[in-house]
Amino acid sequence: MGHAGTLISAVLFLFRQKWRTSINRFAEAMTIFAVMCALVFPGIHVGRVWMAYYMFPLPNQMSMWPNFKSPLIWDIFAVSTYATVSILFWFVGLIPDLATLRDRAKTKIRKTVYGALALGWRGANRHWQHYERAYMILAALSTPLVLSVHSVVSFDFATSVLPGWHTTIFPPYFVAGAVFSGFAMVMTLMLLTRAVYGVKSIVTMQHLELMNKIMLVTGSLVGYAYAIEFFIAFYSGNEYEQWVFMKNRATGPFAWAYWTMISCNVISPQLFWSKKLRTSIPVMFVVSILINIGMWFERFVIIATSLFRDFIPGSWGYFRPTYVDIATYAGTLGLFFTLFLLFLRWIPMIAVAEVKGVLPEADPHYHPEGSHDDHAHAPAAALAGGE
């Protein structure tokens, strides 16, 4: 989910999908906050947080450098690059809107803060020219970057020799899963915000339906990846692979988690084949929540069911989370929603300048009421009448 927002807004920008303007700000904010939450876990898992700088190529007292052949180091670079570029992309998109807030501000504090953040934006065409180019380049950079982040994260698993993790389908499977869960989370948050703030004329049913169609496609892709994992386990003839997938996941002690994942991620989005269900707000809200749950279980199934009942006696038993595990998870939910509510409160949740730019009136050759007049040569009287 943390990796999906930028993909949503960058890929849709490159494909010139104008409807993205109503969801991109949302999706990007969600991404940045989710990445911040995601960073909490490895931060804790390194054990000694104050030693976290060992992961970066910084000179240290052991005069030792990181092992750049390790996928975990690739992951450090991928995730930190991803977080930085996402924040830059988000901020660049925000500049014209911050200028709008600055010009509408009534109090001194608002004028100062928004004024400083807007960098003195004057909407000059000389600026827009470079701005648009920069935005396009950032979108073009973000797209392969997102694909690489998912792939690198999946290398952490795929390059290990653990049955259940050692799977070549992981990179594309993780990418599809990220788009899938990202759209589901955007949908959940968007439906709530849309109802509370009354932005129904900007986020229309058409937008929601298009998002549901993407969820249907990516959900089916994820379902295909689940099936292929089983097929490869069977086709490889490797008994350990077969044992992990068939005995441990699908029918073992964690079968309940596995089948929760399948029903939420593969079966529930199939409802969207029906136009009636795809355009029903209650149905899409419930399905988006189910997908969020399902994608959480996907991580759980990949990690926990591959690590229990394996080679070490310490891992023979059943996995039960401790209260620390649960509290950490609950804490990240709190962190995410705190940041998200602050975002809704202080920053335009819809990309104002971009929405204005796709209105029909924004076209310099737009003529209201079907009237035809030539601006350059029409007499003033005709213009006054025509417009």
């Binding site: 092992n67 509408r104 960098l119 004057r122 470079h130 920069a134 690198v152």
Partner: protein, 193 residues
């Protein structure tokens, strides 16, 4: 519309000097055609100020293509080279680590980090290059002296003509602007140095 409203037509206030003329338009089309007229009249130091980029305005003002791409290319190349040299030196020369009997440095295992740093430095070049080309941040532009200018970020479209333009003559320029159907034309002053 046929008789635009003139703001501050009085002589310049004490300690101030004229910085630019600011014309306001109600639609993007009028703003675009006004820019074309100024360009055809030989003006070069003028610009439009609009809530969103207007299609065709680059041509109407007569701007060359943005050079940002070159900066980004240089940034990307720096990233690739930096990543390659860093890994070669750290893992190959300064502290070779033999893990699992594999060579200390191998190019395939360097690809992910080379890619990431290429993207990172390209993105920095794109954003900070854009700031540099636009001379941002700049919080003290004479345009902000105009009360009316704040509407540019809402729903109005402006054209500003700088006094420094070689073709600039207060009466003539004002007359030219008034022929482009502006909603208002304003003289904007800044503090005299």
């Amino acid at each position: 519309m046929s008789s635009p409203e003139y703001r501050s037509a009085a002589p310049p206030p004490a300690g101030k000097r004229l910085a630019l003329l600011l014309a306001e338009y109600a639609t993007p089309g009028e703003c675009l055609h006004a820019a074309e007229k100024l360009r055809d009249a030989g003006y070069s130091k003028f610009d439009s100020h609009t809530p969103f980029p207007i299609h065709g305005m680059d041509k109407a003002i007569g701007l060359p293509d943005s050079k940002l791409g070159f900066l980004v290319f240089a940034g990307g190349l720096t990233g690739t080279t930096l990543a390659f040299t860093m890994m070669m030196w750290m893992n190959g020369v300064d502290y070779p680590l033999i893990i699992g009997g594999k060579p200390a440095t191998s190019i395939p295992s360097m690809i992910p980090i080379m890619f990431e740093l290429t993207v990172l430095l390209s993105a920095f070049a794109a954003v900070f290059g854009m700031f540099h080309l636009n001379r941002l941040p700049r919080h003290n532009h004479p345009l902000f002296e105009s009360e009316n200018f704040g509407k540019f970020s809402d729903d109005r479209f402006f054209i500003s003509v700088e006094v420094e333009d070689p073709k600039f003559k207060l009466d003539r320029t004002k007359e030219l602007l008034s022929k482009t159907h502006p909603a208002s034309v304003e003289e904007v002053y800044e503090e005299a140095q």
